[in-house]
Symmetry: C2
Subunit: 188 residues, 2 copies
């Protein structure tokens, strides 16, 4: 891995633990074994690091969603399951990075911020369409789409917690989330 990638990785870890604004370039430099000024031979600015982390993850989710949409023989339930798996896989690949993507995007500056929010909105819209499809086909209950959307996605937004703390496998996590989020906690 080159210096730039090592910096991104160390930055993701720090941004996750302390938050973007509370992380200094001096701390980051120490983590990668350099002086602060030396970082600027590899990156343009602190902001650039955040942009890279956020946009890379946005790209992963967008690409994953496109694949799910393109598999035409999945019904709404199977699509939701695929989305759960997508979130678990991305979180398992790089926990720190996806946490920064989730929690620190608000420190992005224009015009990157608008670009980021547009992508997120589009992703949410894709999930919304699947939920609507499911309700129309009577595969899903007639719930408020907005509440379902936010409840579903925010549950998935915190998957990294489990990987960070626990020793649960991707498969078991996916299976459990599928049961809980789609079929509910209650015994029916």
């Amino acid at each position: 891995m080159n210096s730039k990638e090592l910096i991104f990785q160390a930055a993701a870890k720090l941004f996750r633990e302390k938050g973007y604004a509370a992380t200094s370039m001096r701390e980051l430099a120490t983590q990668v074994g350099l002086e602060a000024s030396s970082l600027y031979n590899h990156i343009k600015s602190k902001e650039e690091i955040l942009q890279e982390i956020c946009l890379r993850n946005a790209g992963k989710f967008t690409a994953g969603m496109k694949i799910i949409q393109d598999i035409s023989n999945l019904n709404a339930l199977q699509k939701l399951e695929s989305i759960i798996r997508l979130h678990v896989v991305i979180a398992s690949e790089d926990i720190s990075s996806v946490t920064v993507f989730n929690d620190e995007w608000k420190h992005l500056k224009e015009p990157v911020l608008s670009n980021f929010l547009k992508q997120r909105k589009q992703y949410e819209q894709s999930v919304k369409v699947i939920l609507q499809e499911g309700i129309e086909q009577e595969l899903l209950k007639k719930v408020d789409i907005e509440v379902a959307l936010f409840s579903f996605l925010t549950s998935l937004r915190w998957i990294h917690y489990k990987f960070a703390k626990g020793r649960i496998s991707s498969e078991r996590l996916t299976e459990n989330l599928k049961t809980i989020l789609i079929f509910g906690l209650a015994n029916s």
Copy 2:
């Protein structure tokens, strides 16, 4: 409302929008119509504001949980429903403050941080006991308790989103969350 409370309120709004670390005392002062130095006639430090916001909300959740536990004739499903209502009510009372409580606690310093985390752990433990009860009584499916706990609580941790963006009533939100989180999205 006295000056101190006005400062807390303005601070919660700013901390929520920009994050604790990215909010300056000068900005906060401007919001309440003062110079930065004048704030210190009402509060001891920036940190004290965060402490107040976090501990007040922690207190609300702890108190609410105690009441739910004390109602002895509720079964696990009814207790979970009560917890949903508790989160909706607290979020509806003061959206900014509860968001700061959720997202900015990591900037607390010791010994307050440990105290805060202890309270949070205790709250999670209470929910866990209810989930275990529900599984033992076969009211709930045999899911991984940790996944159920985190999935349930994190869904509720983002309720403020709905109040901020939408025009949904507390009653309708509670009802929808109950359906989704307890009985699942899927039609059974």
